[in-house]
């Protein structure tokens, strides 16, 4: 069986095609804006201005981006190993439990710079453990990881609701959340960095987890492209058969990849919980895990791409909030549509425009797309 698609030069593969897919997603989103009776161009201007026009906007954009870097990396690590971790949402949600245990126990006795590493370890461990069972079932029992991780999202949600309306809720309170953390569990803000550049920031939750996210992006790059483990993961992702033939243990590689993915998902919880709300509340993840799918696909599973895609989605979230003020017909749910369209065009339909671009390239220079080789095979 021949592969369905011939080769393109790398810059077209990693630059041109994603760009075209992304543009189509935004054009379709523009049609939805028109359907609602607003001007899509004006909407785009408000969105970009809301996200980058003022210092506060930039800080909020980066705050949201932090969350999406973690979830995007989480999805990408699993994807390199050929696994679709749709359970990022649940792994992040349940990691809130680990953070809550650390913060509620130590926030009055330890300073933030001790609590932060403890919370990182707790969040990563809980997230990884939540990914462990689906990983084990995939590796040893052949249960489809997509289905089990979806199931685990719902199980995590039920468990967290149970804990947050019961054991974790202070007796005197009505709201389904933990008590507010004390100063020992509040992460320092990073707004001063932006203020160095002369931006004025009123109050924005951008915090030190942003730096952690960037470090993690670097470590993921190191893992995937510079370590033996990463090489094994990519091998397994490309061809499980080849990996087995090369003596790579299937169980070990699936479980390791999923636990790393779960750990990254878990760390996402640090940003909203310790950096912003200072408590663990019901549904604090609010879909960020699913945004991670869009971010990972758009970033072509590469950490640099993921950071850029996360900033784009951070911009959509922050700009979308501004947009809702200016255009009452458009609420923040517009972002959900854009997210869906990005997943559709950059993910499921990523090959839609490829034949046309190939034909275009072939008409200019047949050699660049390897036409001769294909012809030789009798295509």
């Amino acid at each position: 069986m021949s592969t369905p698609y011939a080769k393109l030069p790398a810059w077209a593969d990693y630059g041109l095609i994603p760009l075209i897919n992304l543009s189509v997603a935004f054009i379709v989103a523009g049609f939805v804006v028109m359907l609602v009776g607003e001007n899509p161009l004006r909407a785009a201007v408000i969105l970009v201005e809301g996200a980058f026009g003022k210092g506060t906007g930039i800080a909020f954009t980066l705050f949201y981006a932090t969350t999406f870097i973690f979830t995007g990396l989480s999805v990408a690590v699993a994807a390199h190993c050929g696994l679709f971790n749709i359970g990022t949402e649940g792994q992040a949600y349940i990691a809130g439990l680990g953070i809550a245990i650390v913060c509620l126990s130590f926030d009055s006795v330890l300073p933030w710079w001790v609590n932060f590493p403890l919370a990182i370890v707790a969040a990563a461990a809980v997230g990884a453990l939540w990914a462990l069972i689906p990983a084990y079932l995939q590796a040893r029992r052949g249960s489809h990881i997509v289905i089990t991780t979806i199931m685990f999202n719902f199980i995590a949600a039920s468990l967290m609701v149970y804990l947050l309306v019961g054991p974790l809720k202070p007796a005197a309170s009505q709201a389904p959340q933990t008590r507010n953390f004390l100063a020992g569990a509040e992460l320092p803000k990073l707004n001063w960095i932006l203020e160095l550049f002369g931006a004025k920031i009123r109050s924005a939750p951008l915090n030190i987890t942003f730096l952690l996210a960037l470090v993690m992006a670097f470590l993921v790059w190191l893992l995937i492209w510079r370590t033996r483990l990463g090489y094994e993961m990519r091998t397994y992702g490309h061809s499980p058969k080849a990996a087995r033939y090369a003596g790579i243990s299937e169980t070990r590689i699936i479980i390791t990849a999923m636990m790393i993915s779960g750990a990254l998902a878990g760390m996402m919880a640090l940003n909203p919980v310790m950096g912003d709300q200072h408590n663990v509340a019901i549904d604090f993840v609010s879909g960020a895990g699913f945004v991670g799918i869009a971010v990972a696909l758009m970033g072509r599973l590469h950490p640099v791409g993921i950071v850029l895609a996360a900033i784009l989605f951070g911009m959509l979230y922050q700009g979308g909030a501004e947009l809702a003020f200016e255009m009452p017909a458009i609420s923040r749910d517009m972002i959900v549509i854009i997210q869906g369209l990005v997943i559709l065009f950059a993910g499921a339909l990523e090959h839609m425009f490829r034949p046309y671009i190939q034909a275009l390239f072939a008409s200019f220079s047949p050699r660049s797309v390897g036409m001769e080789a294909v012809k030789g095979k009798g295509a």
Binding site: I147, M151, F154, D333, I338, Q339, G347, A348, L349
Partner: protein
């Protein structure tokens, strides 16, 4: 008598709650049996619910609503087909995309068109499907007369004639002392979509296991290359399977917004598409099993609503969240192979590349 009453009530709400699951589950059965994974059941149900309620309230007709629900839901199924069959994209990614587009667009369009915070206007009588209660039946029997005054009258009369005998039977059954009230509560008193859903179980079984289309549909989910070799279009077969899926998710959505609820509320599917997916696995991709799985999951839901806060004998108080999580836990245990083994269609999730 009190316990009996309680049991009948729980069983009654079991039926009501399992109908959307059953429709979505059978919908998933068609597509997964043809080798197309469909995570997008949730989204298709949601757009169906929205389109149904919106059209019904604008055109003042329940049937136009139902038609619109089916139409839009099928359109979304075709997007899934376009991405995953024609362009051989990742089926799971495409399903996820559809769920997002559905969740966002129903809220945005609902708010823009009706300005009620993402809701559609409350449906009036006549705009939603009414329940067929014992009273409705006895009323029908009392007032029925054959009329040939006009063509429309004649059509109504002929329809009535067809319904007359079953109506007589049900009326008689509902009048039996003791058994009658239970029968009236459980079997009668539902909307026509409920009966449609349960009728779809034997129908789906018949289509899948007794027709040529069904045989080919199952074959294409197991070994598309063999079907292709036999000269049958894999693409067209899978598209037809997805049309079936779209129709059924459309009806499921219409049931949610036009029967269970008098209008659309944002995110009203609330994970039912995923429970249906779980039920499909639980049923090992078989129609009759699917009905039992959906009834089981519906029962868990009904019981958790009924038991809220009240203790059970022997076990004690069970948190509602535990009951809500139970369908998912059961599915995971099943998937793990501890209760039999769930073996999906072999070609599921793999785009078909024609030999060349």
């Amino acid at each position: 008598m009190d316990t009996l009453n309680a049991i009948v009530q729980v069983l009654d709400s079991t039926i009501r709650l399992s109908v959307p699951l059953l429709l979505a589950c059978l919908a998933g059965l068609y597509s997964e049996r043809s080798g197309i994974f469909d995570i997008g059941l949730e989204g298709k149900m949601l757009v169906g619910a929205f389109a149904g309620a919106a059209a019904a309230s604008v055109f003042h007709s329940a049937f136009i609503g139902l038609g619109m629900a089916i139409l839009i839901s099928v359109a979304f199924a075709m997007v899934h087909g376009f991405a995953s069959i024609t362009h051989r994209g990742n089926q799971i990614v495409s399903g996820v995309a559809i769920n997002f587009i559905a969740a966002g667009s129903t809220i945005i369009l609902g708010q823009a068109w009706f300005q009620q915070g993402g809701r559609t206007p409350a449906l009036q009588p006549g705009e939603r499907f009414e329940s067929i209660t014992a009273d409705v039946i006895s009323n029908f029997l009392a007032t029925y007369s054959f009329s040939t005054a006009s063509v429309a009258d004649l059509l109504v009369s002929i329809r009535g004639l067809i319904l007359y005998l079953p109506a007589l039977l049900f009326d008689a059954l509902a009048r039996i002392p003791g058994f009658g009230p239970i029968f009236a509560e459980l079997v009668l008193g539902h909307s026509v979509l409920v009966y449609f859903a349960f009728a779809m179980v034997p129908f789906t079984w018949w289509v899948l296991f007794r027709t040529r289309f069904g045989l080919r549909l199952r074959a294409v989910g197991e070994n598309p290359a063999a079907v292709d070799t036999a000269g049958i279009s894999v693409t067209w077969l899978r598209y037809r399977a997805l049309i079936c899926t779209g129709i059924l998710t459309g009806v499921a959505g219409a049931y949610l917004s036009m029967v269970q609820n008098g209008g659309f509320v944002k995110d009203m599917t609330a994970g039912k598409g995923y429970i249906a997916l779980a039920a499909l696995i639980f049923a090992k991709w078989k129609p009759v099993n699917a009905m039992f799985a959906c009834l089981l999951f519906g029962f868990l839901d009904a019981a958790s609503i009924r038991l809220q806060g009240s203790p059970l004998p022997v076990i004690g108080k069970v948190p509602a969240q535990f009951m809500q999580a139970l369908p998912y836990v059961l599915t995971v245990i099943l998937l793990a192979g501890f209760i039999g083994k769930a073996i999906p269609p072999r070609a599921g999730g793999v785009p078909y590349v024609k030999e060349r």
